[in-house]
């Protein structure tokens, strides 16, 4: 099967780029001497998880997930050491305990005293980390929050350590700033873990990491694992902040030309908001790529700054680059679109059509969605 045979729109994954991205992160994490716990929220595919494990020389200490559906899927496929990195609610504890009863080792996170008591009182098998906020202002309490020891004490023997996530590193610019954010992330985790240990609580796990901070950290002394995810696929936004190389975007949307508007310098493609997502991650980055950068059918940047300027449900309106000579497009011609935000774009599709740089489809990998 060739790319030209595929129905459009669909998602193409270039395995050669994926392997390069995995290698790059494996080397970075290897130098830091911590374990890698790759975040599978982007790929949501057992085939990709196996590629990461096979191609990472550093210890892979299980995986990270963003939904219980992912936890169920990956444990059913044999990856059972899982960190569910979204704050748990008491109502979700039964589902976690059921997975653990079936042999999984799902760790959950909380930053709340009531929930810590609910975790401690649950009759199932549960392991928890305390979520620390190192500046992302999403989940977690500050490392100097007065409730920290009380939450740890409430969790009791179910406490396994702490975790934090410098998601605000996505707003960082430049390698020095990323390294500083990684150090702040590390210090946050260490401050929290020192206080818990001083209170007599065991904390074997000290978990940090986003793709930018895992890649650019200068040192991770005291840390046991890091949890990058989006680095596997990359996207325009991550390329802008140098988490992936400019040619490190592994996932693109294959689309067909369905309209020509030569008077306006535009074409219309069959990848709109549904196939690309409406994510505008690059809106505030150095280059604003609209809803995605349009590449040629081979995935090359031969169309200059031709961008998806408008994304209706099933229509993407492409403003063609007027600065360079472009081929004339006919209805049915193919292009590919590099995504702003690969997590959101990939989630719009139920499978990856895998290529090794060329146009031969070498595998079809399913991916999951939902909760």
């Amino acid at each position: 099967m060739k790319l030209g045979d595929l129905p459009t729109p669909c998602l193409v994954l270039d395995r050669r780029v994926l392997v390069r991205n995995i290698d790059r992160m494996a080397q970075a994490v290897g130098r830091l001497g911590v374990a890698l716990r790759p975040h599978m929220k982007t790929a949501k595919s057992i085939d990709v998880a196996r590629m990461v494990i096979a191609n990472t020389a550093a210890t892979v200490e299980g995986i990270t997930v963003s939904t219980l559906a992912e936890a169920e899927y990956f444990s059913a496929h044999g990856i059972t050491d899982i960190l569910y990195a979204v704050g748990i609610t008491p109502q979700k504890l039964d589902q976690v305990a059921k997975l653990n009863d079936a042999g999984a080792k799902v760790k959950i996170i909380t930053d709340d005293l009531d929930v810590a008591h609910a975790i401690a009182a649950h009759r199932g098998e549960l392991r928890a980390l305390i979520e620390i906020d190192c500046g992302e202002m999403l989940g977690g309490i500050s490392a100097d929050d007065p409730n920290l020891e009380a939450i740890g004490t409430a969790l009791g023997r179910r406490l396994q350590g702490v975790m934090t996530h410098a998601g605000h590193s996505y707003a960082g610019r430049g390698i020095a700033e990323m390294a500083d954010l990684a150090e702040a992330e590390r210090q946050s985790a260490l401050t929290a873990v020192r206080r818990l240990r001083a209170a007599g609580l065991e904390c074997p796990v000290v978990s940090v990491g986003s793709s930018p901070t895992a890649l650019h950290a200068r040192a991770l002394g005291g840390i046991t694992e890091t949890r990058p995810g989006v680095y596997m696929f990359g996207d325009l936004f991550q390329a802008e902040i140098a988490t992936v190389e400019p040619d490190g975007i592994a996932v693109t949307v294959l689309a067909s030309v369905i309209g020509r508007r030569p008077a306006e310098g535009r074409i219309v493609i069959d990848a709109g908001g549904m196939a690309l997502s409406k994510d505008r991650a690059t809106e505030s980055s150095p280059h604003d790529f609209g809803f995605g950068l349009v590449l040629d059918a081979q995935g090359r940047r031969s169309l200059g700054m031709s961008l998806v300027a408008r994304a209706n449900q099933e229509h993407g309106v492409v403003d063609l680059d007027r600065g360079i000579a472009l081929p004339e497009f006919r209805i049915g011609d193919r292009v590919r679109v590099a995504p702003n935000h690969t997590c959101m774009t990939s989630a719009a599709h139920d499978r990856y059509y895998v290529v090794d740089g060329g146009d031969e489809v070498v595998a079809v990998w399913p991916r999951i969605s939902g909760w």
Copy 2:
């Protein structure tokens, strides 16, 4: 089963609101004396399609769809008269012909002379409309485009008529402006069809319509059918432009509180970009609702202008309305989120949990996605 028993995030469909919205449009279209060809791109559910057919007194002339996956799904469920309202490519003709060979009557659209020749030359059973652009600047040629007759002639006996879509009515404000846009939409279709008929071509179908123009058109003389869709569910954006009543939003996302940030006047919920979509349709409407308006667990607007201000992958950060006294939230408490754009939000989910205003789940309706 009660709403309180459901895993979060999930999609709740209030059937009473759905029926009210269907009634309102049925009356509007009934007064206009045209057939309704409801667009199923929003609901993508046979159960919703059946509700529309059962509750619309005006003739329902089949349905409209936005993907071939929808065409396959609905025809497999017995609704075979289908308009696929996205410009066709030659590569997709085999799939359409296969559906028609199996008993469906799928009409396709084109605005391109080469494609018209490909349609005419195809050995399968095909029916086509010419797509006219009445100002949306997406698909279609202008009604005064010099190629119009040539396209019609190329289609030959496969030509069934014309269609246009005033999608730019979404940028309209006020009932008078919507009525003017509906009239312009009608004139565009009539101009094109007059030219084709003058060239000796038969055009039994003259198809128009978006939700705003179907609802607010003053008259539709010469038109045979209208194709509104989003009116069934409504959303914050459609309420802003008066396509649905303020209490006419039928679909909400049920979410759990997973974080409390009292110092910042915020809570965090487990409905982020994945569950809500990243659509920012209300960005340019009179009220900007961020990524959605937060309602209480019963779906009432008791939380003022509490908005999802930030949508990470699985985290929604809610800025609570500080102007009114709000209850204190605990982890695991439930809220509901009214969506900016119901087509995009619904597409993030694989089923509807149906209620009749209360908290009893009276049905679970699957929905489809993909292409």
